[in-house]
């Protein structure tokens, strides 16, 4: 068995395992499971690219923000990797990490929701499907959140909603920009109607943020669907997506079942959204931080014209977080 076959077998097994864990993601969109690039010892050295199947040095891939040097494929990042990518080294301070999921409906399908939560924590090494906090991007303070797709498909339940609202409230309080990075299958079924209500809850706080004339940059990454796209993710002043990221409302399978015809291949890709007027920019990962940084700078410098007050106050970064 050659090296390639060895990896193929391993990855198939891992994919199957992940499939069973992730089949519960959000509204169950038919999202291809992407095995995490490297999570056991045998994979430490080499990683197989999801785009071109090339074997890559894991350390080099990580250095390149998990973008393949051969084909440009953007592998998924964990929430923490995303924060690290965007914020200045050491600047990020997590907030609300004490907000944890409960089981309000006492939900049980083939497995109790409580068990799923425990598993998700283990698989994803994360306590919920989002990390939020205050950090800086090239020394510009921001309120930033990133979703964790490995945690029950990045689905939005009560915790995700509450943490986003709380984060936006900080942005308003401190008059700093809000940056949200989405990666989600949609609303989390296991919390029923409460998950649905998080759409209204997050959109509501964004109305306030909008009225306060604060900048909100929404970054859509592979994959963003359902109740997340149809609420906070689509409400950015600037909408940015990563190349080839799949973004949409309904999942491909649901649509195919509904309309009973095949769907064009590039449907719901970032490039498709750009062409259809739905997002502002498609930006490769390595350019993201400079771009977001410059957008913040450009959006900060004018408001004094009107009111004498800069829109983003330059208060000390961690004062009263």
């Amino acid at each position: 068995m050659g090296l390639k076959d060895f990896f193929k077998t391993r990855q198939l097994k891992k994919a199957a395992k992940l499939q069973s864990q992730l089949s519960t993601n959000g509204n169950g969109h038919d999202l291809k499971v992407e095995p995490s690039i490297c999570d056991d010892q045998l994979c430490v050295l080499w990683t197989k690219c999801q785009g071109c199947n090339e074997l890559l040095y894991t350390s080099e891939l990580k250095k390149n923000h998990s973008v393949c040097k051969h084909c440009g494929h953007h592998h998924r990042l964990t929430a923490q990797e995303r924060i690290d990518l965007l914020t200045d080294y050491g600047s990020f301070l997590e907030i609300d990490d004490n907000i944890l999921p409960s089981d309000p409906l006492n939900f049980k399908d083939l497995k109790p929701y409580k068990d799923r939560l425990k598993e998700a924590e283990k698989t994803s090494n994360s306590k919920e499907a989002i990390i939020t906090g205050i950090g800086s991007i090239n020394n510009q303070p921001v309120a930033i959140g990133a979703m964790e797709f490995q945690y029950i498909g990045g689905s939005m339940g009560s915790v995700v909603g509450e943490k986003i609202v709380s984060l936006a409230e900080r942005a308003i309080e401190k008059r700093i920009p809000l940056i949200l990075v989405s990666s989600s299958g949609g609303a989390r079924m296991h919390e029923g109607i409460l998950s649905l209500m998080q759409m209204a809850k997050t959109a509501g706080i964004l109305k306030k943020l909008h009225e306060e004339k604060l900048l909100y940059v929404s970054l859509l990454t592979e994959p963003t669907f359902g109740g997340v796209t149809a609420s906070f993710a689509m409400l950015g002043d600037i909408l940015i997506a990563e190349p080839r990221a799949r973004i949409g409302f309904a999942g491909r399978r649901v649509i195919e079942e509904t309309i009973r015809q095949k769907i064009p291949k590039d449907f719901q890709t970032a490039e498709y959204l750009l062409e259809n007027g739905q997002i502002d920019l498609v930006i490769p990962r390595q350019n993201l931080k400079p771009l977001v940084s410059d957008l913040i700078r450009l959006h900060s410098q004018n408001t004094k014209l009107k009111t004498g007050i800069s829109p983003f106050s330059k208060i000390p970064l961690f004062a009263g977080v």
């Binding site: 169950g28 409960s102 009560s158 509450e162 609303a187 989390r188 809850k201 706080i205 149809a230 309904a250």
Partner: protein, 321 residues
């Protein structure tokens, strides 16, 4: 719809139909034999069975009533509760989506913007109304009417009865997500009273896009859910056959949602469901609207907005450790 039409019975009503048939047959005989004791007994039994069935409807049975083809639809309520009805059309950018209707009605000498999702009564009407599944243009028409109401200080009453926003190619192309998200955000900012009534199916984000209200009411046999029971079963139980289990687990009935604090009032229907008596249901709805409008009139525009935002801000159940 003419109410004289024969009622289509549901599965779980079969015992009643059987009993009813038995009673009729006996009554015919009784006319000859004068043997009425059995009939009286049977009638008592009938009443008991009826009570047992209708007082103990399972969630999946509620779904069946909520989807009953003879159930009143939003236009039935609208046209029944107001002497005036001026339907307004179009999103101004290329389509008048018949799955959403909206326009001016009058209650107690007050002009009201009524907006609802609308299913069809037959195949042709359902083609036109897309089975009550709105397109982005429908939500944008609704948004236009929200703004109209805000401008002229009309309270808004929405009637929700939709399987959900349409999952189709064109709907995605025209940005279903954004259309829904914008409604969620903009409804949060209005300063007029808003009452939302789930009258049949409250299907996920497509329902919520008309549901960010100061008061959210549900008809006794309506449902409101983050995902259809069938869809949830297919994903979590891996078979649509488990829709009944999913329906129970998801907590989608008016009674459950009232307990969860997500809705404010349950509007009673007649025994068996609204389709047994359209007029009575319309009257109950009218009374509910009137009483909530009276209460909301006491609030100032700013209070109305804050009330609505705080209502949704509170929704969600989690642990804070």
């Amino acid at each position: 719809m003419k109410t004289k039409q024969e009622i289509i019975h549901l599965d779980f009503e079969k015992p009643l139909i059987a009993l009813s048939k038995q009673i009729s047959e006996l009554e015919e005989k009784a006319l000859k034999n004068g043997n009425s004791k059995i009939i009286i007994d049977l009638k008592n039994q009938y009443e008991k069975v009826k009570e047992q069935i209708y007082k103990n409807l399972s969630p999946i049975e509620r779904i069946k009533i909520a989807r009953h083809p003879q159930r009143p639809y939003p236009l039935d309520y609208i046209q029944s509760i107001s002497p005036a009805w001026y339907e307004l059309h179009g999103d101004r950018t290329g389509k008048d989506d018949a799955a959403i209707v909206g326009g001016l009605i009058e209650i107690d000498g007050q002009t009201i913007m009524a907006i609802g999702t609308q299913k069809g009564r037959n195949i042709k009407e359902n083609q036109r109304r897309n089975f009550g599944m709105p397109s982005p243009e429908g939500y944008r028409k609704a948004l236009r009417l929200f703004y109209h109401a805000e401008k002229f200080n009309f309270p808004i009453v929405t009637f929700i009865d939709t399987p959900g926003a349409y999952p189709g190619l064109e709907a995605e192309e025209h940005n279903q997500s954004h259309a829904i998200a914008m409604n969620l955000r903009e409804l949060a900012g209005l300063t007029v009273p808003i009452i939302a009534i789930v009258t049949g199916e409250g299907g996920s984000g497509g329902a919520l896009a008309l549901g960010v209200a100061n008061r959210v009411l549900m008809l006794e046999n309506s449902i409101y859910s983050v995902i259809s029971a069938e869809g949830c079963a297919a994903i979590l139980w891996r078979t649509k056959d488990k829709a009944s289990e999913a329906a129970s687990a998801l907590k989608i009935t008016a009674q459950d949602l009232y307990k969860l604090g997500v809705i404010d009032e349950i509007i009673p229907e007649v025994e068996g469901g609204a389709h047994y008596n359209h007029n009575q249901t319309c009257e109950n709805i009218l009374n509910a609207i009137k009483s909530h409008l009276r209460e909301l009139k006491e609030l100032s525009p700013e209070e109305l907005k804050t009330d609505r935002q705080e209502k949704f801000r509170r929704l969600g159940i989690f642990n804070r450790v």
